[in-house]
């Protein structure tokens, strides 16, 4: 019985070129993609903003309400600007943005655990080929590189601590990791102290580079690249310190986005996107509502509703919707069954993902769940389908583009899956 798929045998001219280029050590965009593709990507001005609701937002209290059904919970549904489409009453503002959004209600994934589910979803859960795939942000950083702004291509705005999170990059190498801005704050000591002149700073940097070169001669390239890269990132950020100057924010914007973490971080994300960061992820923690799910969502959802609506409005008002893809998701949804703790547990069987902007067909709802929300009724979509769709939306042909891990060609999204055409313009 032959289990091999065509992809594994299809040594195209493109792949051969890629392999040769990779083997020859051509730098290009990281030395993995073939040079022509790399140049094309460098001209690509598309950007991605991922809103990650860590722990698992309930689809039933957001995009796929089932009011007055056994598992529907206490909340009502409300109509949206899209005829016939209802969402939870906890999203009154987003309900009025529905003509700009696309929602997939038929997500069906495999992993119901946070520890393994988060990386699987953020890596697009490709087939196991013995390598650790990059998170979406690192993948985009690699495949598309920085924009012309030169700003770091993958910035993660999150509560808590910041730093450089190399492990997101997987096999791509540490330099494609995430620059994490803990609580939206810039890295410490970003601004050059007045006591050090520009000339002295330049001399110090040159000395550092010299030592780095000597150090690099005796060590693996990836490690040194990442080490130098972090310094380069710091240097770039020093030129953009105004991004972190909250005094420059208007009171109106603060109010529109909200003064809570998610609002402040979403507003920073908009500014990072405007400044040219290729991929920004905003994370909100604490969505694992095993207990008191409905009070939790009653408190949390209005904040999501407020900040994401402000973000969508701004992207449209500034014409950025044609350039920026916005995705809002978690690692899974939540169980239809309500436990004794008035909570909902983990549910990858039938959940929802929302998106808007660049390349996405606005006012689209794809898929349907059963009347009681317990399973997907229409064609189920996995995260691999979404990766193909999002790559396509920003101009990457995921059926053609691939990574080269040494001489090993690797698809950038699950090779058994495909883009969802209904979601794309």
């Amino acid at each position: 019985m032959n289990h091999c798929r065509s992809w594994e045998h299809g040594w195209s001219r493109r792949r051969m070129l890629g392999a040769v280029a990779g083997g020859a050590g051509v730098a290009g965009l990281g030395g993995i993609l073939q040079p022509a593709a790399a140049e094309e990507m460098a001209r690509n001005d598309k950007q991605i903003l991922l809103i990650w609701l860590d722990g698992g937002m309930s689809q039933l209290e957001s995009w796929d309400p089932k009011p007055n059904t056994p598992f529907g919970g206490p909340f009502r549904s409300i109509p949206t600007t899209l005829p016939g489409i209802h969402v939870s009453e906890l999203m009154p503002k987003l309900s009025r943005q529905m003509k700009r959004l696309a929602v997939v209600r038929s997500m069906k994934t495999e992993d119901a655990n946070h520890s393994s589910g988060v990386p699987k979803i953020l890596r697009g859960q490709p087939r196991n080929r013995g390598v650790t795939y990059p998170y979406l942000g690192s993948a985009v950083a690699k495949l598309m590189g920085p924009t012309e702004s030169g700003l770091p291509p993958y910035v993660w705005v999150k509560p808590g601590n910041g730093g450089f999170i190399a492990k997101h990059a997987g096999f791509l190498g540490a330099k494609y990791g995430a620059l994490a801005l803990g609580d939206g704050k810039p890295p410490a000591n970003l601004v050059r102290p007045d006591s050090i002149s520009a000339a002295a700073d330049a001399a110090r940097q040159e000395l550092r580079r010299k030592f780095n070169r000597q150090f690099a001669d005796r060590r693996r390239a990836n490690f040194n690249e990442a080490n130098s890269y972090v310094y380069d990132v710091a240097g770039t950020l020093m030129k953009h310190v105004e991004l972190f100057d909250e005094a420059k924010l208007s009171e109106k914007d603060r109010r529109r986005y909200g003064t809570h973490d998610l609002g402040r971080h979403a507003l920073l994300a908009r500014r990072l996107i405007e400044a040219g960061v290729r991929f920004v992820q905003v994370t909100s923690y604490g969505w694992d509502t095993h207990g008191d799910n409905f009070n939790s969502h009653a408190s949390r959802m209005p904040k999501v509703d407020q900040s994401v609506t402000a973000l969508i409005e701004d992207l449209y008002d500034r014409g950025l919707d044609e350039r920026v893809l916005v995705v809002m998701m978690a690692e899974f949804g939540r169980t239809p069954r309500i436990n004794g703790s008035v909570g909902r547990d983990h549910w990858p069987n039938a959940w929802s993902v929302a998106m808007a902007g660049c390349g996405i067909r606005p006012g689209t709802v794809v898929g349907e769940t059963l009347p009681d929300g317990t399973d997907v009724k229409t064609t189920p979509y996995d995260i691999g389908h979404m990766f193909h769709t999002w790559f396509s939306a920003v101009g990457l042909d995921s059926a053609e583009a691939e990574y080269m891990n040494g001489t090993q060609p690797l698809p950038i999204a699950h090779d058994d899956m495909h883009k969802v055409d209904e979601l794309l313009i």
């Binding site: 056994p70 939790s296 309500i338 004794g340």
Partner: protein, 364 residues
């Protein structure tokens, strides 16, 4: 020399479980009718469930429909025939003849815009007060459902409300653990007290700990119950009850009833034998049924055998009913029944004889 034998401490009498009733859905609240004949309850299926206690064997009889979402609260009219029920879609209803052939006496489909969080009936049974997620607090005539008073634009989300027996004041408890006292008529806010510890904020979530208000002792005491939340996303809180001296609006006594996995006090009732009966629900599988003497901090009876207890009521003859949750199907798996159906959790109702009932048999 051998120690002298210690006198045997007499173990306080405990309640004795008489029987258990099944309910195929989860319940939020259960009460005995004023006449004592019927046990009524409401919950996740938006219907009023009824069990006839006077039948040869306690049996469930026809449900009363009309609500939506969940029935969030249900109370009986003291000394009267009405049962008041509220739901999460904003409907408020008074049902007459619940122990026989029920009929809807009056209702407001939109008494509030959305979830009615709390409902309380005056001691004389003539008025009831409701509070909703819409920021409104309303006092209604129990007889005909007329709106008597209204507090509009409450400054925060109300979780609990109670009406003073003298009907000259209502008190609200909000998401942030703040008590507000409003005078009637007029609805003017005349006092505010914060119950420290009954609010927790982290990761864009406010967790409200003040979930139940109840006047006692002819209005001289206000009971503020719920929990001191320790986390978001889970029912992790130390179940807590404050007894407030109402005229002075000062805490007179506090009882913290167990570890943080026990969550919140969901319901309580004064027992005619002179103690408080309390239920708590916290983490999945955790729950307590407690009996507590006035002024004590430690319960004289504490059962954790039942899972996630959500309601409790005391019958005129001293029996106590506790609604719990089934222990299975609490987790991430798509657990199904033997026929392969994905079924909802449900609420068994445990009926107890009061402590010391061995000596005085209870009917039923």
């Amino acid at each position: 020399m051998a120690d002298a034998p210690k006198p045997t401490e007499k173990k306080p009498p405990e309640p004795r479980e008489l029987f258990k009733l099944d309910c195929d859905r989860q319940l939020m609240v259960a009460r005995f009718t004023a006449c004592g004949r019927m046990l009524v309850a409401g919950g996740y299926d938006a219907s009023i469930r009824r069990w006839d206690l006077c039948a040869e064997q306690t049996v469930e009889v026809d449900r009363v429909e009309g609500h939506h979402g969940w029935i969030s609260w249900l109370e009986v009219q003291p000394g009267g025939d009405l049962v008041f029920s509220a739901d999460t879609w904003g409907r408020l209803q008074a049902t007459r003849g619940i122990a026989g052939t029920p009929e809807i006496a009056w209702h407001h489909e939109q008494a509030h815009d959305g979830w009615i969080r709390s409902l309380s009936v005056s001691d004389d049974g003539q008025a009831l007060v409701t509070a909703g997620r819409d920021g409104a607090v309303r006092v209604w005539s129990a007889v005909d459902g007329r709106l008597l008073h209204e507090v509009k634009d409450h400054p925060s989300e109300v979780f609990a409300v109670a009406i003073h027996p003298a009907k000259q004041a209502i008190v609200t408890g909000d998401l942030f653990g703040v008590l507000r006292r409003f005078e009637l008529p007029g609805g003017k806010c005349v006092g505010e007290t914060t119950l420290a510890g009954m609010h927790f904020y982290k990761r864009i979530q406010d967790v409200g700990g003040l979930r139940l208000l109840r006047f006692h002792d002819k209005g001289r005491t206000l009971i503020c119950a719920g929990g001191e939340p320790q986390a978001t996303g889970r029912s992790i809180a130390i179940p807590t009850i404050h007894w407030l001296d109402w005229p002075k609006c000062r805490i007179a006594h506090t009882a913290r009833l167990g570890a943080k996995n026990h969550g919140f006090v969901f319901d309580l009732a004064w027992h005619p034998d002179g103690f408080w009966a309390v239920v708590t629900s916290g983490q999945p599988g955790s729950g307590q049924f407690l009996l507590l003497k006035p002024g004590q901090e430690k319960p004289f009876f504490n059962s954790t055998k039942m899972s996630n207890c959500h309601s409790l009521a005391v019958h005129g003859d001293g029996r106590i009913v506790v609604t719990a949750s089934n222990r299975n199907s609490q987790g991430n798996g798509a657990v199904r029944d033997k026929q392969g159906n994905y079924v909802a959790n449900f609420s068994p109702l445990h009926v107890f004889a009061p402590p010391g009932s061995e000596e005085k048999p209870v009917a039923g």
